[in-house]
């Protein structure tokens, strides 16, 4: 499409005329024992300035030494995100003054980062690099100690915590995309065991670069940077608000100004971060206190060995090998505890014909990802009273038509609250399936038709979905023991439909 055509295509269009283009910049605190460049232990709310040393206080004469585990974790992340790992990478100094930055520069990586390229899900990764976290600056208001003016206080406990910065390509297209992709990243990092990835604690932080362009255009518009949204919800809200703001400006013929914005979740408003600084000139140059990091074969092998199967790979495996739908596969794989439990169920499955049968895996996936997960909420099924054996057995009872689905859900309720053996529960509660040919069932269907003349009218008028009310009626009467398909068949038979 030529520029001219683009121009013609854009003006005044509805919401659909503009396409959001979003890239994320994520900072992750690594869960090493010690800081990035010194032996101080990481801090979790200790008394201020009790986890410091000459290095992380930036005392004169002190020097940084790289934490081996931080490199190891960085490599694991690089592998998990399918990055290209640099055989040699170097650290740079990023120079700027701020009270939370003790040396007047941050040791970070610049043009030779640890990892480049890569992909997670359908988002490409631009780069992954290591750096050190800043200290914590707390505003304390007026204090007589420094001339009565407003003051802040610096606590260097957090300063120097190892950070991994992950920068994506601008492959995201909506606020919802951002939220769910960040969820995938969090699960991936959690499974790697390299970080607590807790947004509320700041161990996972996310900035978004957002621009809009006419749909169909390949060019990027002017972007704004949305800073430090500290929950998944705020990320989604903030991105949505910024997309709306830009769309409104562009639709009104105004332009977007490149700036850094702060989302205030309480008011839902966006404000430009006030900057008394001139445009930053970080004067990056190679950190002369460190020499290049060469990634040896042993380091690579150790990182490879430490990377477990990750959500994206697991979901792909469930789709190709077990024939699960993408949705169902992701529901299990992206919550690793569900995936683990699901695999235990597969293994526990006694159904002799089931092993070769992908529909059997689909059935179990529904039981785990749907019925069980729905009942357990955030709880790990491994910690519940439902054993994989019990769940697999229950699924078998359903597939052999010994128990109808509705009754099986009642059994599952009992399993969740008390545990036990599904067959014993079926026996005890009299939940065996009602045979489809039984007179008892036909009589119950007839009674249901009798009791619901309006529904019958609707059915006769061609509203097929109205049959649900009749099925529901029978189910209530049978305590879920009837098979829905049997009931449907009998209804149609008796009404001559």
């Amino acid at each position: 499409m030529s520029a001219e055509e683009t121009a013609i295509a854009t003006p005044g269009g509805g919401d659909g005329a503009w396409e959001p283009v979003i890239g994320l910049e994520i900072h992750v605190q690594l869960s090493t024992a010690t800081k990035m460049f010194c032996g101080c232990e990481l801090s979790f709310g200790e008394t201020p300035n009790t986890r410091t040393c000459p290095v992380c206080l930036g005392l004169p004469g002190s020097l940084p030494v790289i934490n081996a585990r931080a490199i190891h974790y960085g490599l694991m992340i690089g592998l998990a995100l399918e990055c290209e790992l640099a055989p040699v990478s170097i650290f740079h100094r990023k120079n700027y003054f701020y009270p939370d930055l003790p040396k007047g520069y941050q040791i970070s990586q610049y043009d030779e980062p640890l990892c480049r390229g890569g992909r997670l899900g359908d988002v490409r990764i631009h780069r992954v690099h290591l750096e050190e976290d800043a200290a914590k600056l707390v505003h304390v208001g007026s204090s007589g100690r420094i001339h009565g003016s407003d003051s802040s206080v610096v606590d260097f406990n957090r300063g120097g915590t190892p950070l991994v910065e992950i920068v994506t390509e601008p492959d995201l297209r909506s606020a919802q995309d951002c939220r769910s992709w960040l969820g995938l990243l969090r699960t991936t990092l959690r499974q790697l065991g390299v970080s607590d990835v807790d947004m509320s604690q700041g161990s996972l932080r996310c900035d978004a670069n957002i621009s809009l362009r006419p749909r169909g255009s390949e060019q990027l518009g002017t972007k704004t940077e949305l800073k430090n949204m500290n929950s998944f919800r705020f990320l989604e809200q903030g991105v949505r608000a910024e997309i709306a703001r830009q769309r409104e400006r562009l639709a009104g013929g105004a332009t977007v100004v490149q700036e850094t914005l702060h989302f205030d979740p309480s008011s839902g408003s966006l404000s430009a971060l006030r900057s008394k600084e001139e445009a930053h000139d970080y004067r990056y140059f190679p950190e002369p206190d460190l020499v290049p990091v060469r990634v040896s074969e042993e380091m690579l092998a150790a990182a490879r060995a430490a990377v477990p199967e990750l959500p994206a790979a697991r979901a792909a495996r469930y789709e190709t090998e077990l024939g699960l739908s993408a949705d169902s596969a992701q529901r299990l794989a992206f919550r690793s505890e569900l995936g683990d439990y699901f695999e235990l169920c597969l293994r526990a499955d006694q159904d002799p014909d089931a092993s070769a049968d992908t529909s059997r895996a689909q059935t179990l996936a529904h039981w785990v990802g749907g019925d069980l997960a729905g009942r357990l909420g955030e709880q790990d099924p491994a910690d519940s009273k439902v054993t994989p054996e019990a769940l697999a057995r229950l699924a078998t009872l359903v597939s052999t038509r010994e128990v109808a689905v509705g009754a099986a859900r009642k059994v599952l309720d009992q399993l969740v609250s008390e545990g036990g053996d599904p067959e014993v529960i079926v026996e005890r509660e009299g939940l065996q399936a009602l045979p489809g040919g039984a007179d008892e069932l036909a009589a119950l269907v007839a009674a249901a038709i009798e009791a619901n003349p309006k529904v019958v009218e609707q059915l006769r008028a061609g509203h097929d979905r109205a049959i649900g009310a009749l099925i529901g009626h029978v189910m209530r009467e049978t305590n879920g023991r009837a098979d829905g398909a049997d009931v449907t068949r009998l209804v149609r038979q008796q009404l001559d439909l």
């Binding site: 010690t34 101080c40 300035n49 040393c53 260097f156 006030r274």
Partner: protein, 94 residues
């Protein structure tokens, strides 16, 4: 050559206050030095890699093992201003 405006810009980056006189003087002294060092511009350095370190070693890595930290008294001992066990500074938001 470097003029007063550039001197002021650089001084701002370096967080140095300079008086009017110092700015003038700095401009002339830096210009003189830059004139001299700019002679490296004459060299043909096509394809020559930069040297950050003369020593060609790979970085040693530190085992992720804790070492004792300073006490908060020791950390704060030289601080010009202390409030609430922290280093007090004029607020950046002020």
């Amino acid at each position: 050559m470097i003029d007063s405006d550039q001197v002021l810009h650089v001084a701002r980056l370096a967080r140095l206050e300079l008086s009017e006189m110092e700015v003038q003087r700095m401009a002339s002294e830096l210009s003189q030095v830059l004139d001299h060092v700019a002679r490296i511009g004459e060299l043909d350095l096509e394809g020559v890699p930069p040297t950050t370190h003369v020593t060609e070693v790979d970085s040693p890595l530190r085992p992720d093992e804790p070492r004792p930290s300073l006490s908060s008294e020791a950390a704060l001992a030289s601080a010009p201003a202390v409030v609430a066990e922290g280093f007090a500074v004029p607020s950046p938001q002020a």
